[in-house]
Amino acid sequence: MLNDVTFGQYYPVGSFVHRLDPRFKILALIAFIVLLFVADNFYSMAACFLLLLFAIAFSRVPVTSVIRSVKAIIVIIIFTAVINLFFHTGSHLLWQYGVVKIYREGVIFTVFFVLRLFFLVMASSVLTLTTTPVALTDGIESLLKPLSYIKFPVHELALIMSIALRFIPTLIDETNRIIAAQKARGADFESGNIFKKIKAVIPVLIPLITSAFRRADELGDAMDARCYSGSKNRTKYKKLAFGWRDLVAFLSVAALIAGVVLFNIYAYRVYPPFYEYIKVY
């Protein structure tokens, strides 16, 4: 059964991170991801982790829900980690069994790789946990705005996304209603083999699709009646504005960029004997 009231991951508390401008959050996430891949030593990585910790702490979302997002891709991470571990070559052989060789560089790289993915997923989930889908859409629309000069249909795209978001809860409700109605008529969605299960979906799918078309029709009329005529001469009410929070957050991200760059360049000076263990080749 589908979940009834909510979709997406948004966690409704009004924290510092929640109130940041969605455009800034999107850009900050992109910057963060780039830094994760630019970072080539554990000092840089630790700096990234520090910022991530701050973000989670100031977002006031439960840590469990951030960690849950990692669980979703844990299989992929383990799989690629194992492959990396066995196939990464280097100069310090640690362990050998037949053709299988594990190098110290391989171990370092694998740990680094796993951390990179963990942080990436956790940071993305901080974005989705603290930003409503609507705000995300607004942010994306605003960031894509320059593309409208090369005739890219930014407004239409944004409207499509906005309508899709608007109708997801409605259609989920509707699906639940139809499932209930067909269950009451003895439909069985749980037992049977895969073919039976696919067949069982038809009595839900057809009414759902018909209803979606009916809704689309009515929505079209309602939009027409409210003078919709495409993006021509259209004004926009919603305006995103940067505030002091964004400045604070921007400074933190800037500090991180500086930190990662500096560590990348000067990491060997911190404690030279350690250097070969913290650097990724």
Binding site: V134, A184, G186, A187, D188, R215, A225, R226, C227, Y228
Partner: protein, 606 residues
């Protein structure tokens, strides 16, 4: 009100492509600035088409439509016309483009290029006009139907139109929602001088207007003040329109020799009854007391609910409690009513009756709750229907569902098969896979015929080609085909016109006792419950507020009003009479009520 016509329709004709008859034929009327016009007609009479030609959503084939002197039919000035004529449609869910109220209200002004600051002011004004200022940042998915529809009105108002058209905008709302929307519209008309065209099939709403048009088969057949239109009682019925309920009380009173004029409001009728009685020298009286008929029953299929609670999205930040500690008993063979607002928990309750929602004990990963410090272990709910114990994991839920039929709201939206036959047979084949073809055919035939459709004519048609009323009947046939002992219907008459409503209730009475032993209807229409159900319960905020003979429930009018619920017309009149010393006890049906009043007038029980 000035004499300047704001809308003029002259000999307008329109037909949909591939339709045999015209949807509009020779329609001529005009609307003055500041006027409140109501348009009534049965489903398919052309009234929604009328709304759509006024702002160029549909282009007329014949004649012309002028808005503020602009000819609408030219198509080019559609946007210009739509700035002046705004329409609010029927389904509140299908009119919103944005997930946040203020963004949605802004949509119209954005489209016509209003400047940003001005849009802000218009949102303030429009939301205040519909009384929804507090919900500016809310999301429509969490609002009630009436609230959503008020947002839709605000969305149109923000364009600052001269004319507001409501195309059956209240048809899908519960009484509270309907009242909210109608109040907003009346206030706009009175205070802001907004011209209003209210298209409806609720006669009580049509009465609020200055002028009423009656439509039948695409033509305007009657026109005048609401009072004068409703004078034409019999004529209205030939147009498939039901008279306001009050007239079915007036008629028998007149027959009893009372001198009663046509009136439309309960207080007016009560005053007239008092006048009649006073003339006869009757100043205080009491009718014979209402004694509910005691029914014998076998108690084989009783419904017994104890301490039922239910919370949606438990353990999430969006958890919402739908039921808390509901206990209820419904006897075998009753025609039972469940009354409550949208969101009161009544739909959640009935979904438990055929295990669409299961009790916690019947769920897969159930752990018995333990007693916590100082508190006893929470009492588990129980629910039995006949011999089925729904708190038992091993209960045969499929057999239960075959015996407890459930017709959900707007059941026509669950039709899916290629033919009516296949759709009706769907449930039967699910429950009894071993039935022979002949047996299935016989059962389907019986079922389609009992809901009043022609089997031979309809069995091979696609359910999607049927009319709204037919679809609903087919959907009901698809549930009763298994001959369930108990039939539960969630708002069976919702969205139908008065005639369709009456027919559905007649159908239920035909089924009751013969085809299905017990009938349980969920409704928010008090008159519907009063006319049909012997016993009812009121659900409010997840609890059973009261459960009693329907007539006794409606004696507690004040309490019902405080819950935001209404009482039926008969109870309202009885209340007025009671204040003047005339005590009328009845079972709250119009027939019984009228008979008892006539009895007092005739000198019985004086």
């Amino acid at each position: 009100m000035t004499e300047e016509p704001i809308i003029e329709c002259c000999n307008v004709g329109f037909s949909y492509p591939e339709a045999e008859t015209k949807a509009l034929n020779n329609v001529t009327f005009s609307v003055k600035r500041g006027e409140f016009l109501s348009v009534i007609g049965h489903n398919g009479s052309g009234k929604s088409t009328l709304a759509r030609i006024l702002n160029g959503l549909l282009e007329v084939d014949e004649g012309e439509v002028r808005v503020l002197g602009m000819k609408v039919s030219e198509g080019k000035n559609a946007i210009e016309v739509r700035k002046h004529v705004g329409i609010v449609f029927q389904n509140p869910d299908n009119q919103m483009v944005a997930s946040i109220v203020e963004d949605d209200v802004a949509f119209g002004p954005e489209n016509i290029g209003v400047e940003r600051e001005e849009i802000g002011r218009r949102i303030d004004w429009a939301l205040a006009a519909v009384g929804m200022e507090k919900f500016r940042k809310s999301t429509p998915a969490r609002l009630s139907g009436g609230q959503k529809q008020r947002i839709a009105v605000a969305g149109v108002l923000a364009i600052k139109p001269d004319v507001l058209v409501l195309d059956e905008s209240t048809a899908m709302l519960d009484p509270r929602g309907r009242r909210e929307v109608i109040e907003v519209v009346r206030r706009l008309n009175k205070e802001e001088g907004m011209t209003v065209i209210l298209i409806t099939h609720f006669m009580e709403e049509a009465l609020l207007a200055d002028r009423t048009l009656v439509m039948n088969r695409g033509e305007i057949v009657l026109e005048g003040s609401p009072e004068s239109v409703f004078e034409n009682g019999e004529t209205l019925e030939t147009y498939n329109l039901a008279l306001p309920r009050i007239s079915s009380i007036i008629a028998p009173l007149r027959k009893a020799g009372m001198n009663i004029e046509n009136v439309l409001r309960p207080e007016e009728l009560a005053a007239q009854i008092i006048e009649n009685l006073n003339e006869k020298g009757i100043y205080s009286a009491q009718s014979s007391p209402f004694v509910p008929a005691v029914r014998e029953c076998a108690h084989e299929w009783d419904v017994d609910v104890e301490n039922l609670s239910y919370t949606y999205s438990k353990k999430s930040p969006f958890a919402s409690k739908a039921l808390s500690g509901v206990s209820l008993h419904i006897d075998d063979g009753e025609f039972f009513g469940i009354i409550g607002h949208t969101g009161s928990g009544k739909s959640t309750l009935i979904q438990h009756f055929n295990a669409l929602l299961k009790l916690p004990q019947a769920q897969k990963h159930f752990k018995k709750p333990k007693a916590k410090k100082g508190k006893p272990a929470p009492v588990l709910p129980s629910l039995t229907i006949g011999k089925f114990d729904l708190s038992d994991k091993k209960c045969d839920f499929k057999a239960l569902r075959a015996n407890v039929g459930m017709v959900l709201q707007y059941p026509e939206y669950q039709l899916f098969a290629e033919t009516v036959f296949a759709d009706v047979a769907f449930g039967l084949k699910n429950f009894n896979p071993k039935l022979s073809e002949a047996e299935v055919e016989q059962a389907v035939k019986n079922s389609i015929e009992i809901v009043g459709l022609d089997y031979e004519d309809i069995k091979d048609k696609s359910p999607f080609d049927l009319s709204g009323g037919q679809k609903r009947r087919v959907a009901i046939a698809g549930v009763i085909v298994t001959k369930p002992h108990i039939l539960i219907l969630d708002e069976p008459a919702a969205g139908l016109d008065p005639k369709g409503k009456r027919e559905i209730m007649e159908l239920l009475h035909k089924l009751h006792g013969e085809w299905c032993n017990t009938i349980i209807i969920v409704s928010h229409d008090m008159d519907e419950v009063a006319e049909n159900c012997t016993r009812s319960c009121i659900i409010s905020e997840g609890k059973v507020f009261a459960c009693d003979y329907t007539a006794n429930l409606f004696k507690r009018a004040d309490e019902l009003f405080s819950l935001g619920l209404d009482v039926p017309l008969t109870a309202k009149i009885a209340m007025e009479l009671g204040r003047k010393g005339i005590i009328v006890e009845s079972d709250c049906t119009t027939a019984d009520f009228a008979a008892r009043v006539a009895g007092i007038y005739g000198g019985e029980n004086a």
